[in-house]
């Protein structure tokens, strides 16, 4: 076994599990041999022996690449696939090498990741070793996530002539990751955006109990009175019960008021665009899953607004979620949400959330802000009512519009910070 192959084997053994490193190493040793060949040729000593060794090494390298369980490929600077091993053919669902060799790799890169892929190619051809992930759509239309380790291959003069890439299917890993993230987003959503909705459900049960008791006591009284065989004094106990249960119900309501009071906004100067970006990030997964895209059109140099950022996030989050739900429910072919910020008529700022959904029926548009108004099976009908309370507690207003062109538009205004005379922090109750 020649020294070149020895180095190759050592390289493989040393690399242990990291086949990528081993293969890159072996490719490099092959290139070293090529350089040696050059030197030897210059010295004009036994040419044939070197050629044989080189040949032997290339066969060995090829054998390893051919049997490598992961996709190994060589690409030119323009993305043309020069060579690819059987594992690679399988990965892109090619039936034969002709399906992909000589073609551009972009044929199997998801369009939204083509630019990212190009950028990574540029870096490799500039001499860097890079690792990148991208979504792939195989020749048979299968979608999967890939991770590529790519290194530049240089010729004897050191110029990069190809990219050597080892690619792995990481779809499962990616899905698990996404699920974990979704779970986290869900948690954040529950904690932040739907506390009120959750509470309303619990509240409904808490209120139903005393109301059911009241109805039973009252009906029991009526039945006895109708029967005419009851002494008035017998009804006192049950009627007292009715009063107690009514008090119990109003106690439940008092808790709700306390809860709301605890959530008084903490108003301070805030960057509205920052708030919008943060909501966009928070709701990104949810919108993407429903095939909706969120576009931001944020005016630069807006005044800072007087706001409790968490609460304003809650408002925008509610509006975005309503849009997603409306477009999903209506199976809108185009699902777009645009969030715009800009100056309002006065010194403040206006935020607009517009969607490409079904819009709102003109007869209902005046009711959408009402508490418990909902057209959804699973809806509570609190989202918009809470949103309005929050906006009003900020000293702003909120309106709904349904354009002739379709889609619903919600607009709300916020005051600029520092415009109110008292200065410092201001508090508004959410109700009354």
């Amino acid at each position: 076994m020649g020294t070149g192959s020895e180095a190759l084997w050592l390289g493989l053994v040393a690399a242990g599990g990291t086949l990528a490193a081993a293969l890159i190493f072996s490719a490099v040793s092959a290139l070293r041999l090529r350089e040696a060949e050059q030197r030897l040729r210059d010295k004009e000593i036994d040419h044939q022996a070197v050629m044989d060794r080189l040949q032997e090494n290339e066969y060995r390298l090829r054998a390893i690449i051919e049997s490598e369980p992961e996709c190994v490929k060589l690409q030119a600077a323009d993305g043309t696939v020069l060579e690819i091993n059987p594992a690679g053919l399988k990965l892109v669902d090619a039936d034969s090498p002709e399906d992909i060799v000589g073609k551009r790799i972009y044929a199997v890169v998801a369009p939204e990741h083509a630019e990212l892929y190009r950028e990574n190619m540029r870096r490799v051809f500039a001499g860097e070793a890079v690792v990148y992930e991208f979504r792939s759509i195989t020749l048979k239309g299968r979608t999967c996530w890939m991770e590529t380790h790519a290194v530049p291959l240089r010729d004897a003069r050191g110029a990069v002539y190809a990219l050597l890439g080892i690619t792995r299917d990481v779809t499962e890993h990616k899905l698990a990751e996404e699920q974990a993230r979704r779970h986290q987003t869900e948690l954040a959503r529950v904690a932040r955006l739907s506390t009120m909705g959750e509470m309303a459900t619990g509240l409904a049960h808490e209120l139903n109990q005393p109301l059911a008791a009241i109805a039973n006591f009252a009906r029991g009284c009526i039945r006895r009175l109708r029967g005419g065989d009851v002494a008035p004094s017998e009804l006192i106990g049950p009627l007292e019960e009715v009063c107690r249960q009514a008090e119990r119900a109003s106690e439940v309501m008092r808790h709700v008021r306390d809860f709301v009071r605890k959530r008084e906004p903490q108003l301070a100067g805030a960057d509205i665009n920052q708030i919008v970006r943060s909501v966009a990030k928070l709701t990104e997964l949810e919108t993407r899953q429903h095939g909706a895209a969120v576009r931001l059109e944020l005016a630069p140099q807006l005044p800072r607004v007087l706001a409790d950022p968490i609460m304003v996030e809650q408002v925008i989050g509610n509006l975005v979620r309503n849009s997603v739900e409306a477009m999903t429910e209506a199976r809108s072919p185009r699902r777009e949400i645009t969030i715009r910020t800009g100056p309002n008529g006065g010194a403040g700022v206006e935020v607009e959330i517009a969607d490409s959904g079904p819009g709102i029926d003109g007869a209902l548009i005046d009711q959408v802000f009402d508490q418990f108004f909902t057209t959804k099976r699973e809806g509570v009908g609190m989202g918009l009512s809470i949103s309005r309370s929050i906006v009003e507690s900020h000293g702003g207003t909120i309106r709904a519009e349904s354009g002739a062109a379709g889609g619903a538009t919600f607009r709300f205004s916020l005051q600029a910070a520092g415009q109110e005379a008292g200065g410092g922090e201001r508090r508004h109750g959410l109700h009354r």
């Binding site: 005393p210 008791a213 109805a215």
Partner: protein, 204 residues
């Protein structure tokens, strides 16, 4: 039916009391329990009536209570489930598992009371049928081996003569056994006898 009791199991005391007040308006005996445990502890399978249960109870749920009752004895009190809005599916499952009926909240009082009456009547009928069967079993146990033999052949439609031939007895003896069987089982006619025998047969 005067000995029937409506058992109410509800963790909400006020709701339980209000149900008692409502149900007592039709002069029924009511007994309330705050939990399935409390009810099971004091449960006497011999008591007649029906059970009114909230499907959503903390601790042992209504469905579980139903299963436990079913596990204790082949026959148990008919159960009427009260379900909240959106629990109808749960109630359907309960009925499939043997519950008598269910009412959805908010319910109409007359509707609930009607269902309770029906459950109590059904319970009484079940128990009457059961006690008749028991009586019959006792009567049958009083027959001698020979009398049972004769009964079997009578029911098969054989004449006295044929039975005498079959059993190697005189027609007169067969006549005598037959009369004893009729008397012991309190049957007035041949058709009566056949019906009783069929009831007994269904038992075996």
């Amino acid at each position: 039916m005067s000995d029937a009791t409506v058992f109410i199991v509800d963790d909400d005391e006020a709701v339980a009391r209000s149900l008692r007040w409502l149900i007592e308006s039709i002069r029924l005996e009511v007994e309330t329990h705050a939990s399935a445990h409390a009810f099971l502890d004091r449960f006497d399978p011999g008591r007649r009536g029906c059970l009114v249960l909230d499907v959503r109870m903390p601790g042992i749920s209504g469905l579980e209570l139903q299963q436990r009752l079913a596990a204790r004895r082949a026959y148990h009190l008919p159960i009427i489930f009260i379900t909240g809005h959106g629990d109808v599916q749960m109630a359907v499952r309960a009925v499939q598992a043997g519950a008598f009926d269910f009412v959805e909240k908010p319910f109409n009082d007359q509707d609930l009371l009607d269902r309770i009456q029906r459950a109590i009547a059904w319970d009484a009928a079940q128990r009457d049928r059961e006690s008749q069967r028991e009586q019959l079993r006792a009567l049958f146990a009083g027959l001698t081996a020979r009398e049972r033999e004769v009964l079997g052949l009578v029911v098969e439609g054989l004449s006295n003569k044929a039975i005498a031939l079959e059993l190697g007895l005189s027609a007169k003896t067969v006549e005598f056994h037959r009369a004893r069987v009729m008397e012991k089982l309190r049957a007035r006619s041949l058709t009566d006898l056949v019906k009783l025998a069929m009831q007994l047969g269904a038992e075996a």
